[in-house]
């Protein structure tokens, strides 16, 4: 027999939300050393980093940014649907998932093309590529987990409504966080000194 520690659904939702924010703080600190490594490497070898950035596929990267940000929109609409019980939750979740999958597909194709180019890199430019693969790879891993969460929400969509929607809200927070991480990764890797290219 499990005793619920909460006295009300409101208390439970507030706890879940605070818990997700605390978890997202740990995620910031988890990505943190990689950001620090990037700053360290870019200060030490700015030219190599710029060279590395010029090898990135900027069209695909920009496309992916647009896709991911749209998925945040659909996710937010899904959260609102859950809150108001409007019935479009499943649609929004499906759209979010499709956009997320597309993002991963584009990323995968980029990795495929880059793997060959990277094999010839060395020195500081190799460091750039390592950071690129590590950070976007970690990001993609988080997105995959997010897709799993969305799938779970989709399966239980009927149970959410005005009275109970904390899981959708909390998942929305997670999805937006993953999006925000990408908003930093995109310029860091794709946009170095592009204006002069």
């Amino acid at each position: 027999m499990t005793t619920s520690p909460f006295d009300s659904t409101l208390e439970r939702r507030e706890a879940a939300t605070l818990g997700m924010w605390a978890f997202l703080a740990t995620e910031v600190l988890f990505f943190g050393p990689l950001f620090f490594g990037y700053v360290h490497g870019r200060l030490a070898s700015p030219d190599a980093f710029v060279a590395g950035s010029h090898h990135m596929h900027i069209v695909l990267g920009t496309l992916n940014t647009a896709i991911l940000m749209t998925s945040s929109l659909t996710m937010a609409l899904g959260v609102r649907a859950a809150r108001t019980g409007s019935g479009s939750l499943k649609t929004m979740l499906t759209l979010t998932a499709l956009l997320g999958l597309t993002f991963l597909g584009v990323k995968g194709s980029e990795y495929w093309m880059e793997a060959k180019e990277v094999a010839n890199a060395s020195g500081a430019e190799l460091q750039f590529y390592f950071l690129y693969f590590a950070m976007t790879g970690l990001h993609a891993l988080h997105m995959t987990i997010g897709l799993g969460v969305i799938a779970w929400l989709w399966r239980h969509a009927r149970g959410f409504g005005r009275h109970y929607h904390a899981p959708v809200e909390v998942s929305g927070l997670y999805w937006h966080f993953v999006d925000i991480v990408w908003v930093f990764l995109y310029p860091m890797f794709y946009l170095l000194e592009r204006y002069s290219a």
Partner: protein, 533 residues
């Protein structure tokens, strides 16, 4: 006021099968699962230390080989830091007491709580696996490039084990933070919280924010070892100091994870056995927050001779002096709490007073290490070893034992034998000082750490230290024996054997599964003691 549970054993009586324990969501049972696990690891880490002190009784390296010694101090550090000290008070006593002390039925996320224990166990299994596979010889600090390119021992297994146990830390911290924010009983405002809660809350903030940095740093070491990327290895274009910065950014706050809960324990025990309120409650609470926050800014004091810039050293030195101030406040306030009290020298009180004394010595020696010019000579010597053992063992372990004794009636429903408790406390206090005080002298004389052999002139001090270790070992075995004995033969405990304040004492010993028959309302501050003649 409380009604005993049906069979009189509260949460302990809700199921006797192994399965009921391994699938529990009850924070009190999870606390016990942790207690069993960390006790096992404590004695394993202690065995490694015993072998080390045996080797160091004589100057020659004649008991174990150099490689074996290197593996011993590595596994001693890894086990004691990550599998004993960090989880000890938060995951055992924090898990048990936080909901009780705030009048809640359980933690905010009971299933995550159980998951955190399983993360601990799996992490522990990987680490034990590394041990069985032949050990690791990098030191618990994994400095590069030795750990990434030169060591041919089972480094990856240990890295995985520590990475996984990090999740245990994070989930415990998450649970405590959300629980304290959201589940306090009506009337229990922040400044009516017991200092034990403040301490574990601040610790949990550190657990949340520091542990992920360790996780990523260890991942990078593993990637470097596997794929020769060139992050930390200069031969591949990397920077060994980058590793040190990342590692110590976690590992310094980690030592505050180890000491803050201990300070919280002292603030519960001393008022109770002095029968008066703690002196300077607000300053104590702010000091806890001060230690936690400034503690994130001092990591470079581990790197004064590492090759980092002299100016960076000065910044870190100044901040390290600053973090000593809130700790000093706490020592003064504990001392002042004895003034005009009515003092009982029970076993928990002996542990708590021993904690204050030994923490004071350890903390004062921290000033030597914070002083740049002195640290040049003292770093990487036995002076540092003595310093951190005074704080982590003389401090945290004594506080942990004091806490176990103080709350044993509540946890087990039994009283431990008081005379044995006092004997053990005094044995440990004596054994501890005999073991570690000579190490200050050894460090000042210039004996480096991680040495299994040393110049013969230093034997007398080393012999004292090894003798002390034998006494200390006996001291630690005593509670294991008589606490175990008390589970079967100890006197049945009343609800509040110490006449202590605190909501946990307002329910039965042991508490029912849902903690309180009726949710408490709080109208007063904590430590509402009146000294009696």
């Amino acid at each position: 006021m409380s009604t005993p549970s049906p069979n009189g054993w509260g949460y302990l009586g809700e199921g006797y099968t192994l399965r009921s324990w391994l699938t529990t969501h009850d924070h009190k049972r999870i606390a016990i699962l942790y207690m069993v696990a960390i006790t096992a690891f404590f004695f394993l880490g202690g065995a490694a230390a015993a072998l080390m002190r045996l080797e160091l009784a004589t100057p020659a390296g004649d008991v174990v080989s150099a490689t074996t010694y290197n593996k011993l101090f590595t596994i001693h550090g890894v086990i004691m830091v990550w599998f004993f000290l960090i989880p000890s008070i938060p995951s055992v006593l924090g898990n048990f007491l936080v909901p009780l002390m705030i009048g809640a039925r359980d933690m905010a996320f009971p299933r995550l709580n159980l998951a955190s224990w399983y993360f601990y166990v799996v992490g522990g299994l990987f680490t034990l696996g590394a041990l069985v596979a032949g050990g690791v010889d990098t030191g618990w600090t994994f400095y590069t490039p030795y750990s990434t390119r030169f060591s041919d021992t089972n480094v990856l297994l240990v890295l995985v084990g520590v990475f996984i146990v990090g999740f245990s830390s994070i989930l415990t911290g998450l649970n405590i933070v959300v629980t304290v924010h959201k589940l306090r009983a009506p009337g229990l405002t922040w400044f009516r919280l017991p200092l034990f809660i403040w301490a574990n809350y601040a610790t949990s903030l550190i657990l949340l924010l520091a542990t992920p940095v360790l996780a990523m740093t260890l991942t990078l070491v593993a990637l470097e070892r596997l794929f020769k990327v060139g992050i930390f290895d200069p031969a591949l274009g990397g920077d060994p100091l980058l590793f040190q910065h990342l590692f110590w950014f976690y590992s310094h706050p980690a030592v505050y994870i180890m000491i803050l809960p201990a300070m919280g324990v002292a603030s519960e025990i001393i008022p109770c056995f002095a029968r008066r309120t703690v002196f300077g409650y607000r300053f104590m609470a702010y000091a806890i927050l001060g230690i936690a926050s400034i503690g994130f800014l001092v990591w470079g004091h581990h790197m004064f001779v590492s090759g980092q810039s002299m100016y960076a050293g000065m910044v870190f030195s100044l901040l390290s002096f600053l973090v000593a101030i809130p700790s000093a406040i706490k020592v003064f306030n504990w001392t002042a709490t004895l003034y005009k009290g009515s003092i009982y020298f029970s076993a928990p009180m002996l542990y708590a007073l021993g904690f204050v004394g030994l923490f004071t010595i350890g903390g004062l020696t921290g000033l030597f290490l914070a002083s740049l010019a002195l640290d040049v000579h003292l770093t990487d010597t036995y002076f540092v070893i003595a310093h951190f053992h005074y704080i982590m063992v003389g401090g945290s372990v004594m506080a942990y034992l004091g806490a176990i004794h103080f709350w044993w009636p509540k946890i087990s429903g039994r009283m431990y034998p008081e005379t044995m408790g006092r004997i053990a406390a005094l044995t440990i206090f004596f054994g501890f000082n005999l073991t570690f005080f000579p190490q200050y002298l050894l460090g000042w004389l210039g004996m480096p750490r991680r040495y299994h052999e040393y110049p013969p002139e230093l034997q007398v001090l080393n012999l004292f230290s090894s003798a002390g270790a034998a006494v200390l070992a006996i001291g630690y075995l005593l509670p294991l024996l008589y606490l175990g004995w008390s589970l079967f033969f100890g006197r049945r405990a009343p609800d509040n054997p110490w006449q202590a304040t605190g909501l946990e004492w307002q329910t039965s010993s042991p508490p029912p599964q849902h903690n309180f028959e009726q949710q408490p309302r709080v109208e007063r501050g904590p430590y509402d003691y009146q000294p009696v003649r």
